[in-house]
């Protein structure tokens, strides 16, 4: 299976800088609900500095994968953290199927899964299996799916041979595969990935691509952020750059 490409349906010609707001407004009506909609989000870290996100709009449709690039410090991680419900914007809102994290936190976090950048977020002294089991419980995976989801994650990300090894005794690339497995394990509808290729080899990147394709096949959506210039061999449906707090066509 390949990712669907809808570049041709985009309203602006390739290379033309178009504010995402206008694109989003075409897709969003008052009753529209999407796997992820970021509406007028602004975030400023210091009052004496310009906002890192400036009334940013982004709408992700079911079955699409979107890439957002930008220079270091452009605000990609901040955007993802707001979309994940980890931090709050000063203005605007992030919605998953029409619901914000403040309105229904549990539902929001059942639908969204976020892979933060870096190599953190693992318990060093737990084995790979115990890490996945712990995360499945915290993600409140239903009991009748619990074992199957863990086995599926072990197979999908080729972690079976590492299953009894402690996290502090596996390589960085293997840890990244585990982190990605944890992200996809709850079968989320909206997947947010912050620099997911960190430490991954070619095989790991292929496994990630297959996992993304499965999310898209069930009409989920994927938002992938990484620095501009990084080679990402993934046929995204939409590509944007974050510049001065706003999204422009990449």
């Amino acid at each position: 299976m390949t990712l669907r490409s809808v570049e041709a349906t985009m309203p602006a010609a390739a290379g033309e800088e178009t504010s995402m707001s206008s694109v989003a407004s075409l897709r969003l009506g008052p009753t529209d609900a999407l796997p992820l909609a970021i509406r007028g989000v602004s975030k400023r870290w210091r009052k004496d500095q310009p906002p890192v996100l400036d009334e940013l709009d982004l709408a992700l449709e079911p079955g699409t994968a979107t890439w957002v690039g930008g220079r270091n410090g452009a605000g990609k991680t901040t955007m993802l953290r707001i979309a994940a419900g980890l931090i709050e914007p000063e203005r605007g809102r992030a919605e998953v199927w029409g619901v914000t994290v403040r309105e229904n936190r549990v539902r929001y976090h059942r639908l969204v899964s976020f892979l933060p950048a870096g190599d953190r977020g693992l318990y060093a002294r737990l084995t790979v299996r115990r890490q996945l089991e712990f995360w499945a419980r915290i993600a409140m995976v239903p009991g009748d799916q619990f074992r199957a989801r863990i086995e599926e994650a072990l197979d999908t990300f080729q972690l079976r041979e590492l299953v009894e090894r402690r996290v502090d005794r596996i390589s960085m690339g293997q840890r990244q595969r585990l982190r990605i497995a944890m992200t996809f394990l709850p079968s989320p509808e909206t997947v947010l990935l912050d620099e997911p290729l960190t430490s991954l080899d070619g095989q790991g990147a292929t496994l990630l691509r297959h996992a993304i394709e499965e999310v898209l096949a069930r009409d989920g959506t994927v938002l992938w952020c990484s620095p501009s210039g990084e080679h990402v061999d993934m046929p995204f449906d939409f590509r944007w750059e974050l510049e001065n707090g706003k999204l422009v066509r990449a």
Binding site: A84, L86, P116, R130, R137, M140, P142
Partner: protein, 269 residues
């Protein structure tokens, strides 16, 4: 499957996680066992050396202080919560908890369970070693009653740990204040010596927190020490502290997490 069952399994998963992490440090139990034996030995010989007014015999003071040592492990478990939260922040696992359907508040509460259960075991071992090695005489007829009182004591102590955990979420350094607070509470709570020896104004302060009531009741149940006032009043005092402070501390924790999310500092350490 109901939300309550899934939440219950998540609570249990946190306990299992903490047990596995604990067991992965194989020397920790040995180290804590040795500390326990040496502390008991120290106070056994102090009790034989010093004649303490107000105690009928050397053994009476030893029994008094052993219960204090058992209780201090409970106090340590409650005050370990801010450090546990800080470790999650440093490891980057706290944001996973915040982003999970189980959520940060329930996760922090769940994090308190293993240390509390562990402190129960340590308290029991302290009493057992005191009995076996140094002839501590327990009042076996009332020992079973000490278990629910110990649980009530934990609920009365827990809010203090949650408040410091809230501080850790907001200013990242909530654990700094816990060492001196434990030392202070062990003095004014009468863990090592009777509060009657303290200045009058300190005695008043000692009655304004739950530790004194807990030590009084548990000493009465475990080694037959006289309790100031009635046992029922002391238990009511503990229950009152738990009933008022526990919901308040959970609300403050929720507020602290929201503040971190609003400021964007929730995952900083």
């Amino acid at each position: 499957m109901s939300e309550a069952i899934l939440a219950g399994r998540a609570f249990w998963a946190v306990i299992r996680r903490d047990l596995h992490v604990y067991l992965s440090y194989r020397t920790r139990l040995v180290s804590q066992g040795l500390t326990m034996v040496f502390s008991l030995t120290l106070f056994y010989y102090v009790s034989r050396l010093v004649h303490v007014t107000g105690f009928g015999s050397h053994f009476a003071y030893f029994g008094f202080v052993v219960v204090g040592l058992a209780l201090i492990s409970v106090m340590y478990s409650c005050f370990s919560i801010p450090e546990l939260v800080r470790q999650e922040l440093i490891a980057g696992t706290f944001d996973r908890l915040v982003l999970s359907p189980f959520g940060a508040i329930r996760s922090v509460i769940a994090m308190t369970l293993f240390p509390m259960l562990y402190s129960f075991v340590i308290a029991g071992l302290t009493l057992a070693i005191g009995c076996v090695l140094y002839g501590l005489q327990l009042h076996w007829s009332t020992v079973p009653l000490s278990i629910p009182v110990m649980m009530l004591t934990l609920l009365a102590f827990l809010p203090f740990g949650l408040l410091f955990a809230s501080l850790t979420v907001v200013v990242k350094q909530g654990n700094v204040g816990t060492s001196w607070l434990i030392a202070l509470l062990s003095i004014i709570g009468g863990l090592y010596f009777p509060i009657a020896l303290l200045p009058h104004w300190v005695q008043i302060a000692s009655k304004l927190q739950p530790f004194t009531a807990a030590t009084d009741v548990l000493r009465h149940l475990l080694v037959g020490s006289p309790v100031e006032g009635s046992t029922g009043a002391a238990i009511l005092k503990l229950a009152g502290f738990a009933a008022v402070l526990l919901p308040a501390s959970i609300l403050i924790l929720a507020r602290a997490i929201h503040t971190g999310q609003r400021r964007g500092t929730i995952i900083e350490y």
